[in-house]
C-alpha cells in the first residue's frame, strides 16, 4: 500500500500534466457527486409492537365510566378508525377494575361499571386482556385517587378584555396532591370570533386560523410541585397565549394523581427539539400504554369581551 502511495506522489513525473489534470478533475467531480442528492429514507421497518391502549380516568365521587380501550398502529400506514377501539366481540376484551368486570357501551365504545363508586384516597387496579393483531395481550395499571379537598373557588371568573392581567382562577388543593391540570377551551371557536389583533401573530387571516383551529382552540395550564398541605388557595393566571377567541370559556381543573401527572408531562412531549425521541413514563405492566389515572375535577367559566 505504501509503495502505491509513493507512486501517487510521483504521479506527475510519470504521466505528465494532462493525466494529472484529468485525475484532479475526475476526483473533484467524484467528490461533488458524493456530496449531492437526497439521502434516501425508509422507516417502514421501524419495529412495531402491538399494544393495548388505555384512556381511562376515575373521578372521585363518580362511578367508573368512559374508559376507552384501543389499539396502537404502525407508523406511516393508513389507520382504519373502525378498528381503533377494542370491543369484547371483535377483540375478545376482558376488563376489570379491582376484580369487578367492566361492561361495554357500544354507543360510546367505552367501558363502565355502575358497581364501582370511586372514593377518595382509594387504590384501583385495571386489568385488561385482548387480542390485538393475533396476539393475546395483557396489561395492568394501578391508580390511587387524590384525597378530598380540590375545588375551584371562583367558578364564575367574570368578563375581561383580551390580555387582561386580571384573569385569574383560584383553587384549593387536595392534601398530598401536587399536580393540577386545567383545560382552557372556548365554548365557540370559529374564524369569526378569533382574536386577530392578538399580541403574538396579528397578520393571520381566516385561512391560517382555519388551518390550525384546534391548536388555537385547545389550551391548558399546569401547576405542579405545589405545597398542597398548607391549606392555602392558589391563583392561576390565565395568559394571553391561552385565549385566542372572544366569547365564553370553560375551564376544567383536575387534581391528578401521579399517573395523571406522568402522562400529561411526558407522553405528549416524547420528541425532543433535535427530533430524537425518548421514552415517556407510562405506568403500565405488560402490554399496555396510554393513561389510567384518577382525579378530582371541577369547572369554572370566564368570558373575553371585544
Amino acid at each position: 500500500m505504501f509503495s502505491l502511495l509513493r507512486k501517487f506522489g510521483n504521479l506527475t513525473d510519470k504521466f505528465g500534466r494532462l493525466r494529472a489534470l484529468s485525475i484532479s478533475i475526475a476526483a473533484f467531480v467524484g467528490l461533488v457527486l458524493s456530496g449531492c442528492g437526497q439521502s434516501g429514507m425508509n422507516i417502514d421497518n421501524a419495529p412495531y409492537v402491538p399494544k393495548i391502549v388505555v384512556e381511562g380516568y376515575l373521578y372521585c365521587g363518580e362511578s367508573v365510566g368512559g374508559i376507552k380501550l384501543m389499539r396502537n398502529f404502525p407508523i406511516g400506514v393508513p389507520v382504519d378508525t373502525s378498528t381503533l377501539y377494542l370491543t369484547p366481540s371483535a377483540d375478545d376484551v376482558q376488563a376489570t377494575i379491582n376484580g369487578i368486570s367492566l361492561s361495554f357501551d357500544p354507543t360510546t365504545l367505552t367501558y363502565f361499571s355502575k358497581q364501582i363508586n370511586v372514593g377518595y384516597g382509594q387504590t384501583y387496579t385495571l386489568d385488561v386482556s385482548a387480542d390485538v393483531d393475533g396476539s393475546k395481550l395483557h396489561t395492568t395499571s394501578t391508580t390511587t385517587t387524590p384525597l378530598e379537598g380540590f375545588r375551584i373557588i371562583n367558578k364564575n371568573m367574570g368578563s375581561f378584555t383580551y390580555n387582561s392581567a386580571l384573569m385569574s382562577l383560584t383553587f384549593l388543593p387536595s392534601p398530598g396532591t401536587d399536580f393540577y391540570a386545567f383545560s382552557i377551551v372556548p365554548d365557540t371557536a370559529t374564524t369569526a370570533n378569533f382574536i386577530y389583533n392578538n399580541v403574538f401573530r396579528n397578520k393571520l387571516d381566516s385561512a391560517d386560523v382555519a388551518k390550525n383551529l384546534n391548536d388555537y382552540e385547545f389550551n391548558g395550564a399546569i401547576e405542579e410541585g405545589i405545597n398542597s398541605n398548607a391549606g392555602t388557595a392558589f391563583a392561576l393566571p390565565i395568559r394571553s397565549d391561552e385565549t385566542w377567541f372572544y366569547g365564553k370559556y370553560t375551564v376544567v381543573g383536575y387534581a391528578g394523581d401521579s399517573n395523571f401527572k406522568d402522562y400529561v408531562l411526558t407522553a405528549p412531549s416524547v420528541q425532543e427539539p433535535d427530533g430524537n425521541f425518548h421514552e415517556p413514563i407510562l405506568i403500565f405492566k405488560g402490554d399496555g400504554i396510554g393513561v389510567f389515572a384518577s382525579a378530582i375535577a371541577d369547572t369554572a367559566t370566564f368570558t373575553i369581551t371585544r
Binding site: L31, S39, A46, Y48, R71, P273
Partner: protein, 798 residues
C-alpha cells in the same frame, strides 16, 4: 469501575512515589557532570513569536529536543566540543548552525527561523525525513496540532470556525450542521476539556451553538488530544482542546481585517519596546444592523468576541503573559414588532476569561510555569409581556496552578505540578409557578507527577500519576495512573501505546440552541470515570506523507444523560409563602449508566509542498447501558458513527490541477487558492416511534379533532432507543481565494460554499396525521440540515 476513595495510605503512597522519582532523577543527574546542557528559545524571525513544537537536534544524532509551549528547549548530556545544531519547524526554513558546547553549558540560545513564504521567488527546501519522523515520534499518541493557517485554510461555514475545522479530523464529529459541539471518539461535548492560554472555558460556542467562540485570527496553535492524555490534564473523560493565542509580533506592527457576510473582524499585533508585544483581536457580527433592519421577523441578534494578549520578556529567564478573552451574544426578539404588548424574548450569554502566566527558568534545567486565571460564563434568558420567566446561569472558575519541568538528563525529564480551583455554579429560574435556585460551590485540589524516560534511543516511556480531590456537598478523591510508551520500529515508523484512568466531576445539560447548564458531582450526581487503551502506529511515507493509525478502547462508568422526563420527577426542596415550589437540588436531573467506545482511525497527512491536506477514516462504535433507558438494554447513543471519511485539500489551483503537489511552496504576487473539505459519515442513530396511538392530552379535550381534519390527540410511542439510523451524511465544502500581494499589504477576497452539492442530509423526522374518510393518514417527513450556502468575504493584511 475504578473509582476509589482517598485514604491516608494512598496519599502517603503518592508522596513515596514522588520521593523515589526525585531520588532517581538526582542520581541520574549526578552522572552527567562531564557533559553540558544546551537550551534556548526558537522564534519566528518575521514576527518574533515563539514556535511550539520545533525540533532541535544535533545533526546526525538523536540527541535533541522539541520546544515546549513557551518555545523553549533543553538538550542535556551533550558531549563537549563543536557540533552542528539542526532546527526545523513545519513551514519554516531549516536552520543549521555550528555551535561550541562547553562543560556545564548554561548558555541560552535564541534561534530564529524564517518562514518559507517569507522570501519571494526563492525555491525553498522541504522538510527532511528526520524532522518529519521525529515530529511524529515526539507527538503524544492521538494528538493533533493545527496552526492558524491550517485552520483558516479549511473551507468555512460563513465564518472561520475552529471547532468546525476540527470536525474535519478523524474521530471528531458533530451531531448536526447546526452545532459546532465536538463528539470525540464517542465522548460527549462536556467530556472535552477546553483550554485557552491555560484557562478552562466551559461554553466554547456562540450563536445557539452554530459558531464557536474562538476567533481563528487570534489563534497561534491548537492542540487536540483525542485520548490517552497525560497526568497534567484532568476532570474530563474524553479529550483536551488546548488553544494557544497569538503572542504578538515583536518586530513590527502587523494587522489584518476580515469582512464576511455576517461579521467583521480585525487583529492587530504591536511590538512593545524591545521586550514584548501586544496582540488584540475583535470580531462582531452585524446582522442586527443589516438583515434585522430590513427583514420582517428577523431577530435582533449579534455576537462579538475578542482577545488581548500581552507577552513581555522581563529578562532572559522570565516571561510574563497577560491574556484576556471575552465573548458575548445578544438576542432580542419581539413576536410582533408592531405591538408594544407583544411578548419579547431576551437572551444574552458570554464568556470572560483572564489569565496571568509567569514562566521562569531556574538554571537551564528547571522550568516553572505559574498560572492564575479566571474563567466566567453568564447567561440570562427572560420573557417580557407574557409571564414571569427569568433564567440566569453562571459559572466562575478561579485557578491557581504551578507546573515545573526538570530536565534531569537528556533521557529523563520530570514534570510535576499542583493546582487549586474554586468553581462556582449557579442556576436560577424564576417563574410565576415557582423557582429553581441551584448554587453549587466547589473546590478542587489537583497534583501530578510525570516521569519521562528514554532508556535508549528506541524507547520513550512516560509514567504519570494524577491526584484529584473534588469537594462539593460531597468529597471525591482519586489517584489516576497514566502511562504512555513509544517505540521506534525504524527510522521512519514508530509504535505508541497509552493507557490511563480519568475522572470527571462536572456534567452539562446540553440544550439545543441554548447554553448548556453545568452541574457538579455531589450528593445526587456521582462522578464519572473512564479508562483509555490506545495503540498507535506512525509511518513516514517518503518525504511526502505521514500515516497515523490508532486503535482505541474506552470504557465509561457512571456517565450521565439528561433525564428528559425530569419535569415529572423533580422534587421540591421547599415552598415559597404562596405555596409554589422551589427546587435547589440536582436530584433526578441525570440518568446514570455505563458505556464503552472502541474504534480504528487512519490519517494520511501531507503537510509539505504546494498542496497540503489529509485523508482520514474512522471506524468506531459506542455502546451505552443505562438502567432507566431502553428498559435497561444496551443502546447506541446518537454520537455513534460507524464510518467517517474526511478529506481536506488546500493549495494553489494551478498546482492542484497540474499535479505539482509536491513542489516547494513559492511565493508569487498573485495566486488562486483552492480549499476542499469533504465529509462522509454513516447515518446517526435516532429513536423513531414504533407506533401511533390516540389518547387525549387532557380528558376534557374529547372534542379535539372534530373541528377540522387535524388529530391533536395523536401520540407517538417510541421504539427501541436509537435503534434506527438516519441516512448517511455527506457534504463537500469549497473555498476559492484570490490572493494578491502588494508588497506591504495583501488582499484576499474569497468565496466559500458550504454543501456544494446541495445534498439533503436528514436532521430528523417529523410526524403528523390527518383523518379522511374514516382513515387516519400519517405523514412522515424528513427535516433537512443546511443546504447549498455560499458566502463571500475579504481578508486584508498589512
Amino acid at each position: 469501575m475504578r473509582r476509589s476513595r482517598a485514604t491516608t495510605h494512598s496519599i502517603t503512597s503518592l508522596g513515596e512515589v514522588l520521593i523515589i522519582c526525585l531520588t532517581l532523577v538526582s542520581s541520574l543527574s549526578a552522572q552527567q557532570e562531564k557533559r553540558a546542557t544546551v537550551s534556548g528559545f526558537v522564534y519566528d524571525k518575521s514576527t518574533g513569536e515563539t514556535l511550539i513544537g520545533a525540533t532541535v537536534f544535533f545533526k546526525g544524532t538523536r540527541l535533541g529536543s522539541m520546544t515546549n509551549n513557551n518555545g523553549y528547549f533543553v538538550i542535556s548530556d551533550v558531549p563537549v566540543g563543536e557540533d552542528t545544531l539542526d532546527v526545523s519547524y513545519l513551514g519554516y526554513d531549516r536552520f543549521m548552525k555550528r555551535i561550541s558546547v562547553r562543560p556545564g553549558g548554561g548558555r541560552l540560545l535564541k534561534i530564529s527561523l524564517i518562514p518559507k513564504a517569507y522570501t519571494i521567488g526563492e525555491v525553498l527546501v522541504t522538510a527532511d525525513s528526520l524532522s518529519m519522523a521525529e515530529r511524529a515520534f515526539k507527538r503524544p499518541i492521538s494528538t493533533l496540532e493545527l496552526s492558524q493557517s491550517q485552520v483558516n485554510a479549511i473551507p468555512k461555514f460563513i465564518e472561520p470556525d475552529l471547532l468546525r475545522a476540527l470536525e474535519s479530523l478523524p474521530g471528531i464529529t458533530p451531531i448536526s450542521d447546526f452545532s459546532s459541539a465536538l463528539y470525540i471518539r464517542g465522548g460527549t461535548p462536556d467530556q472535552n476539556l477546553y483550554l485557552i492560554d491555560g484557562a478552562e472555558i466551559y461554553e466554547p460556542e456562540h450563536a445557539f451553538g452554530i459558531f464557536s467562540t474562538f476567533n481563528t485570527d487570534a489563534i497561534k496553535r491548537v492542540m487536540v488530544s483525542k485520548g490517552g492524555f497525560g497526568a497534567q490534564y484532568g476532570d474530563r473523560l474524553s479529550s483536551v482542546i488546548d488553544v494557544t493565542e497569538l503572542d504578538g509580533n515583536t518586530k513590527k506592527l502587523e494587522a489584518n481585517a476580515n469582512i464576511s457576510l455576517i461579521a467583521a473582524s480585525a487583529t492587530v499585533q504591536v511590538p512593545v519596546s524591545s521586550f514584548g508585544s501586544i496582540a488584540g483581536s475583535f470580531r462582531r457580527t452585524y446582522i442586527d444592523q443589516t438583515y434585522a433592519k430590513f427583514i420582517k421577523d428577523f431577530p435582533n441578534y449579534y455576537f462579538d468576541d475578542g482577545n488581548l494578549t500581552g507577552k513581555f520578556q522581563l529578562d532572559d529567564r522570565d516571561n510574563l503573559t497577560l491574556s484576556y478573552f471575552g465573548s458575548e451574544d445578544n438576542l432580542n426578539y419581539q413576536f410582533d414588532k408592531s405591538s408594544a404588548q407583544s411578548p419579547i424574548l431576551n437572551y444574552n450569554w458570554g464568556n470572560n476569561v483572564a489569565s496571568i502566566k509567569w514562566d521562569h527558568i531556574f538554571g537551564s534545567k528547571l522550568l516553572s510555569d505559574f498560572l492564575g486565571s479566571y474563567s466566567g460564563f453568564v447567561s440570562n434568558f427572560g420573557l417580557e409581556n407574557l409571564q414571569a420567566f427569568n433564567e440566569r446561569n453562571t459559572i466562575s472558575n478561579y485557578t491557581l496552578s504551578e507546573s515545573l519541568r526538570y530536565y534531569a538528563s537528556n533521557n529523563t525529564t520530570l514534570r510535576f505540578g499542583a493546582a487549586y480551583q474554586k468553581v462556582g455554579i449557579t442556576y436560577n429560574l424564576s417563574t410565576s409557578d415557582g423557582a429553581i435556585n441551584f448554587d453549587g460551590p466547589t473546590h478542587k485540589i489537583t497534583g501530578y507527577a510525570i516521569l519521562s524516560w528514554q532508556p535508549d534511543p528506541l524507547w520513550d516511556i512516560e509514567a504519570g500519576l494524577r491526584f484529584e480531590q473534588f469537594n462539593s456537598d460531597k468529597t471525591f478523591t482519586h489517584i489516576d495512573p497514566r502511562v504512555a510508551v513509544k517505540y521506534r520500529l525504524s527510522g521512519t515508523s514508530s509504535l505508541k501505546f497509552a493507557t490511563g484512568i480519568y475522572h470527571q466531576y462536572m456534567d452539562s445539560v446540553d440544550r439545543l440552541f441554548f447554553a448548556s447548564i453545568w452541574l457538579p458531582a455531589g450528593k445526587y450526581i456521582d462522578n464519572s470515570a473512564a479508562t483509555h487503551f490506545i495503540l498507535g502506529y506512525d509511518k513516514q511515507l517518503g518525504n511526502i506523507f505521514e500515516l497515523e493509525a490508532n486503535a482505541y478502547y474506552k470504557s465509561y462508568s457512571n456517565i450521565d444523560i439528561y433525564n428528559q422526563n425530569l419535569g415529572a420527577q423533580a422534587v421540591p426542596s421547599y415552598y415559597l409563602p404562596n405555596g409554589n415550589p422551589v427546587y435547589t437540588s440536582d436530584q433526578n436531573v441525570f440518568l446514570n449508566g455505563n458505556g464503552k467506545s472502541f474504534g480504528l482511525e487512519l490519517l494520511l497527512r501531507k503537510d509539505e509542498g504546494a498542496v497540503t491536506g489529509w485523508v482520514g477514516y474512522a471506524l468506531s462504535r459506542t455502546e451505552y447501558t443505562f438502567p432507566a433507558i431502553n428498559q435497561g438494554n444496551m443502546f447506541i447513543p446518537r454520537q455513534d458513527r460507524t464510518s467517517v471519511i474526511n478529506l481536506v485539500l488546500n493549495g494553489d489551483i494551478g498546482d492542484i490541477l497540474t499535479g505539482k503537489w509536491n513542489e516547494p511552496v513559492r511565493k508569487t504576487a498573485s495566486s488562486w487558492l483552492l480549499g476542499l473539505n469533504f465529509i462522509f459519515t454513516t447515518g446517526q442513530p435516532i429513536t423513531v416511534p414504533a407506533s401511533v396511538y390516540f389518547v387525549n392530552t387532557l380528558p376534557a379535550w374529547d372534542s379535539y379533532g372534530s373541528a377540522n381534519q387535524n388529530l391533536p390527540n395523536y401520540q407517538l410511542y417510541p421504539g427501541p432507543i436509537d435503534n434506527y439510523r438516519l441516512p448517511d451524511y455527506a457534504r463537500l465544502d469549497l473555498s476559492i481565494t484570490w490572493k494578491r500581494d502588494y508588497g506591504t499589504w495583501s488582499l484576499a477576497p474569497y468565496l466559500q460554499i458550504f454543501n456544494l452539492g446541495n445534498r439533503k442530509n436528514v436532521w430528523f423526522i417529523r410526524y403528523s396525521s390527518k383523518s379522511s374518510n374514516g382513515e387516519i393518514v400519517q405523514n412522515v417527513k424528513p427535516v433537512y440540515m443546511l443546504p447549498f450556502l455560499p458566502s463571500i468575504g475579504v481578508t486584508i493584511k498589512f
